[in-house]
Amino acid sequence: MFQNKIVRRALSTVFTLFLISLISFLVIQLPPGDVVSTYVKQQEIIAGSRLPAETIEYLRERYGFGEPMYLQYLKWVGGFFRGDFGFSIIYDGAEVADIVGRRIGMTFLLVILALILSWGMAIPLGIYAATHKNRFADYLLSNVALFGLSIPDFLMAVIYLFVAIFLLDSNYVGGLFSEGFVDAPWSLARFWDFLQHLAVPLFILAIGGMAGTYRIMRANLLDLLDQQFVETARAKGLKERTVIYKHAARIALNPLISRLGMQLPVLLNGTIIISIVLDLPTLGPPFYRALIAQDMYLAGTVLMILAVTLLIGNIIADILLAISDPRVRDG
């Protein structure tokens, strides 16, 4: 039974991976003309030099241009197993794998830190609001949450830029490192500098993620506090704190975990767009530049990597939920 479920899940994951690669390939193929021609043309305009004929021939061969679509797709997918995700035009023919590899860590570091921060704020506030239902603080928090839910990340980033220019040290606006630290090795000073740059983007991201989490936490906990087993726990003579945290809030976390699959893409959206506005060294800026320049291997690959990572995130969320909720594990 349990094994069966894992096998079925694995099969459906493989199929989803296939669909993801198909959609990404479609995105790569959408703009008119093939990538090599665009590259050749761009080299002529910018560098004023023609690429050597062998190079062009090599690239055509490598990506199967001129061959039927499905062969091109197979060549592209086949490259993944050798770590070959195509080449980038805007980065002067550099390997997409290198460009993505350098920035993917920072992207998901931001996402995960934002997730931790948003839960860290939303869960205590949700517990507070649920245990103080219909009091002033509850009303206030709930309306503020709806407000927070409505402010899009990119607008918040724009407004932040505006505020920062008037009020803050503009040294910390944009990028994740001050000039002297960009290529410096990690040190305490560099880390502190990094944190100062990180604070506001993280906060903007976390606010967006927090509002929804808060609302769900509050609603769940309100439901749970009405449950019989909470009264059982009180009837045992437990402290009210133990009753709320160990018996009610602990279970209210489960829906949050199962919602991770929806929350991660939202945070990733925010990370990408904030990174573009504030120029943070994540996958956002190269993705944006690639789209503008029709550098499709880079753009398509970033898109695919984001989707695959989210898929992995979903699987991790399911595993966490199974660990956290015995009913899911055994059922």
């Binding site: 459906s12 669909l19 959408l30 703009p31 409505s150 990119f154 990733l268 767009i273 944006y288 898109l303």
Partner: protein, 374 residues
């Protein structure tokens, strides 16, 4: 009003048992003050942008180069010479080169008040692009002394007027996108829930896949693929399609779930047993029962779509000039020195924010309303 006519015996105040479900819903909605205010705000916004030609004092491309980045004009009621009047007026804005910084500075020319007149004839336009007219809600009679509530852009165009025209795109994209989304989502959701089988399996897998793609990057990629040489109307349509392309999955899932639970209910089973056709069952039994859910989901999808368009246009891969949208107008502000020197250029952000908030509050109110007994 229509409701009162169909219910000849209005219920006594406080006696909820005599109210129909629809009346209960209506009451519940009216009790949610935020939702009502939001609905009113949205009505005003939509009317003001649909009739932008009338509500905007100037045309969207009507610029005066000497007013490049001129600040908003102050609307006044009291003049030193002419005294105070109920009729508001503005002073003409003139540019002077500062003797200290040698930068252009704008000052008010206080020699003469220019009164603002309502329902004033001015530049001709076409109502909804069809009926030519030249009436404007308000403007001055002197085109050298323009009233500009939100300042001017780089080319000396009135930002307030441009925002009203830009709203035509921003606000309609949400509605159009959601229209497509609702049709796609409810049709696919109903079919997949009602028939199940391989169709259901394939669509579910497809939806799952689309949902692991982060929304904004996929929008960006699809939108960037719209050929730059397309005419503006095509670009607009392309963006609507791109925005609807991802949104329907959520609704389809919800509708599928509802269909699954509805098709086991007695009234559907009874209809099947009495030989009603599938089309009839879907139309008469499934759709009416899901309508409220669909409306709520649609209402909450509109702001998402509006934000999507704003974000895309803001990044320069959405609608392109000469079309206008709030996101595109905002991108004009997005240069550090522009934001710092001409903060009024951020005004479109305020409009986006108000619209999105209003839709979210409205959707929340509708969701509470649909569940009238809670």
């Amino acid at each position: 009003m229509a409701d009162a006519a169909t219910n000849p015996a209005p219920a006594a105040k406080g006696d909820y048992r005599l109210l129909s479900v629809r009346q209960l819903m209506w009451r519940k909605f009216l009790n949610n003050r935020l939702a009502v205010i939001s609905a009113l705000v949205l009505i005003v916004l939509y009317l003001a942008t649909i009739f932008a030609g009338f509500t905007a004092p100037y045309g969207p491309q009507d610029g005066v180069s000497r007013l490049s980045f001129a600040p908003p004009t102050r609307v006044r009621f009291c003049d030193e010479n002419a005294g105070c009047s109920l009729r508001p007026f503005v002073y003409a804005t003139t540019a002077e080169r500062s003797k200290k910084t040698f930068l252009l500075e704008f000052v008010e020319d206080r020699s003469e008040p220019h009164y603002i007149y309502f329902f004033e004839r001015g530049a001709p336009y076409k109502i909804v692009g069809l009926i030519p007219w030249d009436m404007h809600l308000f403007k001055t009679r002197n085109d050298d002394a323009r009233v500009s509530l939100l300042g001017h852009d780089q080319r000396g165009r009135d930002l307030f007027s441009r925002i009203l025209y830009g709203g035509q795109v921003s606000l309609s994209v949400g509605l159009m996108g959601v229209l497509i989304l609702v049709i796609l989502g409810s049709v696919i959701g109903t079919l997949s829930g009602y028939y199940g089988g391989w169709f259901d399996a394939v669509t579910q897998r497809f939806i799952e896949t689309l949902r692991v793609f982060p929304e904004i990057p996929l929008w960006m990629a699809l939108s960037a693929a719209i050929p730059p040489l397309w005419p503006p109307e095509w670009v607009y349509a392309g963006i609507v399609v791109v925005l609807a392309f991802l949104g329907w999955t959520g609704l389809a899932r919800e509708v599928r779930g509802l269909t699954l639970s509805l098709k086991k209910r007695d009234f559907v089973l009874a209809a099947q047993a009495s030989g009603a056709s599938t089309g009839r069952i879907v139309r008469k039994h499934l759709i009416p029962n899901m309508m409220s859910h669909i409306i709520v989901t649609a209402t909450l999808a509109i702001p998402v779509t509006i934000l999507g368009e704003s974000a895309l246009s803001f990044l320069g891969i959405g609608v392109r000039p000469p079309m206008m949208s709030w996101g595109l107008l905002l991108s004009d502000a997005f240069k550090v020195q522009v934001i710092a020197l001409y903060p009024w250029m951020l005004a479109p952000a305020g409009f986006i924010l108000i619209t999105v908030l209003a839709f979210n509050f409205l959707g929340d109110g509708l969701r509470d309303m649909v569940d009238p007994f809670s």
